[in-house]
Symmetry: C2
Subunit: 451 residues, 2 copies
């Protein structure tokens, strides 16, 4: 079996902790049982897959912007397929399937399970996935999907109306209803409908055959280069609803979408995280402070307060679904990003009336990690190292760097950096007229191994 | 007449906008009539003194930490007397009186009016001050104080119980009651008591004679050097309550202490200041954001939300008196300070486990302003200039500085900086083991005039 984890979403519903680079599935907020550690939604799901004994290789289908977060959170233990542009679930699943077929050389008979990377669920969910694999292997249907027992008549989900029993676990599918209104949802539930949780199982060849109707090339690289030729459509519409042979396997356990502050805070172990002061009079207030400065809440009730380098949110809990509309309008650059080499936060940004800008960051490279060999066309940078040590290359010249060292990197100067055995932290002051992350030209560079 | 303005207070009641360096009287929040400008409490009082036609020189009695804020907000038009250590109002008024006597060579017969620098009041208050001067001049009493007509039985103020009429405006004083409980305050008010607003008028010689019982030296500098010999006691206890000849002149107009967020926000013109997003559903929420990052409030009611480089506050309005106790415990260094040469904000601070620290600031020098010629013993500094131009001196070497220039200033290197005709802005990265503002040795330095 192969597992494809779908990791998408821009995640402004959990603003300011989530941003375009840090979708909700990457927020390290969930308590780990029997531990004071915290993990993200994607870390939790991957841990649960392993704990459930699903001994399948995992491939994450995601966007280029999320690639570094996935590497940083899941390490090298998963494969990653990045979409060249954001389309929909059908193209994303096609691309990942072609990757399994043409890069990992999986057999067309191998069973593939596709699932979202961020459900908040329990062990039974992964047992249902094992049943789905069995059903596909046994030929119960070409396509098997998971039906989640609804807990309330939600207008946010798709519904699957089951028919007759096909096997011990599987039922036929009579029809799909996408996001009905609440009265229709109530009626569907009374008729035995399930939520469509976006979990699908099929043989690899089943899907690559469908994919090749749209994009057919001998190599994965060519398919990826023609990714825009796939229609922008969901897997549900393009595959599930059109399938001749489709079955549903029910799951009746705990399953939730922690997509808003209101639902997420229900799962947190503590009421406060970070540098927070509260008096005893507040009620039902959750406070998450990722900034270094103190945050104080006095006498507050039913609030979520969240602060990060991207901004500060104070919302009445019942209204937390509304923040997306406002956060989408802010359209600021991400002020905190997890990268494959470590992380950075923007600590200051000034734009002067003549358009000249100064952007100051604090960056940390993980031990042994390095950034690419790069130059910038629009900005100068000044680096002041404040912790750790490492090596730097500046226009081909190799330098050892330590605490207190300062380097000025002018436009057009090639540079790279590698941390030593400890994290390497530095302050970067960027100056120029166009300070965007995309002002970067990368050059090949090989650090000698073990150097 | 001479006016002594008392400017004290650590101001954590309005945390995080106020801090040890920026007391509440310096917050530029109050609307100026017929203008979109805003002014601070001390600016408002000084403006009102002038508008009322009180043509008296002003001397501000304050602490060393507030000196730069006063120069920055009031300019050179006022004299400043700084206490070498914080004691109480009696010593502060003695020191300012000795300054008038020995430095400004005022006559012992000159009338002095002492008043707080931050009452929120109206023109009639200053007319009452003119009456107080007349009463002292006419010999109605040695000491004349202002009695403010109470609007509610507050337990926060001192009360003055008046007796017989001494003149058209003045009454004798029967007794003083300091901060009574509410029932006692109610009783006092029913008997005609006033609030003691801390406004006193006397002839200069009256007070210097009392001062010289404790500290008596021929020069002001010697008196200041022996400031600690004054008892730590209020002017009310040491002078007003012991005076043989004391009168009260009533004032019945608007007078308020904008000492808490609840009372201050009542006077603001707008509900939001700075980079703030609100939805339409919130009620009676005031939001002040001095940070560059966005602050969003959704569905909030009866809150004050305030964010500054010192911290973030979310408080229920009715509870805003309680923040002082919590803010006092934070004991952080000020993260924003107004200085005589401009202002700075701390944008990042990291302390590593071995005690090494890095502190990053954004600083702006006002046009033509300069810092002292100085060196540090415990820290290196890296300056990167991001706007304006100016001159720098580094160990005697003179340099012109512009946008994009970077300088590294090592421990023990003497340095100074002067802005050109525009504001000069730079990013400073301090590194070392003990990053405190007091790590500074100042040297004499003369910039050539007009250079």
């Amino acid at each position: 079996m192969q597992i494809i984890l779908l990791s998408g979403g821009s995640g402004t519903r959990l603003w300011p902790l989530s941003n375009d680079a840090r979708s909700k599935q990457f927020l390290r907020l969930l308590p780990v049982e029997n531990s004071e550690e915290r993990e993200s939604m994607v870390q939790r799901v991957v841990r649960q897959i392993r704990e459930a004994g699903l001994d399948a290789p995992m491939t994450v289908a995601t966007s280029v912007t999320q690639q570094d977060s996935i590497i940083s959170q899941l390490g090298q233990g998963v494969s990653i397929v990045t979409e060249p542009s954001r389309r929909d679930t059908f193209p994303a699943i096609c691309l990942a399937s072609e990757f399994l077929s043409k890069v990992k050389n999986c057999s067309p008979d191998e069973v593939v399970v596709v699932m979202p990377c961020d459900p908040f669920t329990e062990l039974g969910y992964f047992k249902a996935i094992a049943e789905m694999e069995k059903a596909v292997t046994a030929g119960v249907a070409d396509l098997v999907l998971m039906g989640i027992r609804p807990t309330y008549p939600s207008a946010k989900y798709g519904y699957v109306l089951p028919g007759d029993e096909l096997s011990d676990d599987a039922l036929t599918v009579c029809r799909f209803v996408e996001k009905p209104d609440v009265p229709t949802a109530e009626k569907l539930i009374s008729e035995g409908a399930f939520w469509n949780g976006g979990v699908f199982a099929f043989r690899l060849g089943y899907l690559t055959k469908i994919a090749e109707r749209y994009v057919s090339y001998p190599s994965f690289d060519e398919i990826r280069a023609h990714y825009a030729d796939f229609p922008k459509i969901s897997f549900d519409y393009e595959v599930a609803e059109k399938a001749d042979s489709v079955a549903v396997i029910p799951f009746a356990g705990e399953w939730r979408d922690l997509g808003t502050w209101n639902t997420l805070t229900d799962e947190l172990r503590h009421h406060t995280y970070g540098n927070v002061t509260v008096d005893g009079s507040g009620q039902n207030t959750h406070i998450i402070n990722e900034l270094d400065i103190p945050l104080m809440c006095i006498g507050t009730s039913n609030l979520v307060v969240a602060a990060s380098p991207d901004g500060i949110l104070v919302t009445e809990k019942g209204r937390s679904e509304d923040i997306k509309a406002y956060a989408d309008k802010l359209k600021n650059r991400p002020m905190y990003e997890e990268r494959r080499w470590g992380f950075y936060k923007v600590i200051d940004f000034v734009e002067f009336p003549d358009g000249f800008c100064a952007l100051t960051k604090q960056l940390t490279l993980n031990p042994g990690a390095s950034i690419s060999y790069q130059e910038h066309q629009c900005r100068d940078e000044v680096w002041t190292f404040i912790d750790g040590s490492g090596e730097m290359v500046l226009d081909g010249m190799r330098l050892n760097v330590h605490r207190g060292d300062t380097f000025r990197i002018m436009k057009g100067q090639k540079h790279t950096l590698r941390a030593g055995e400890k994290p390497l932290t530095f302050i970067e002051v960027q100056t120029g007229n166009n300070l965007v992350e995309s002002d970067i030209i990368r050059y090949p560079f090989e650090w000698e191994a073990g150097e």
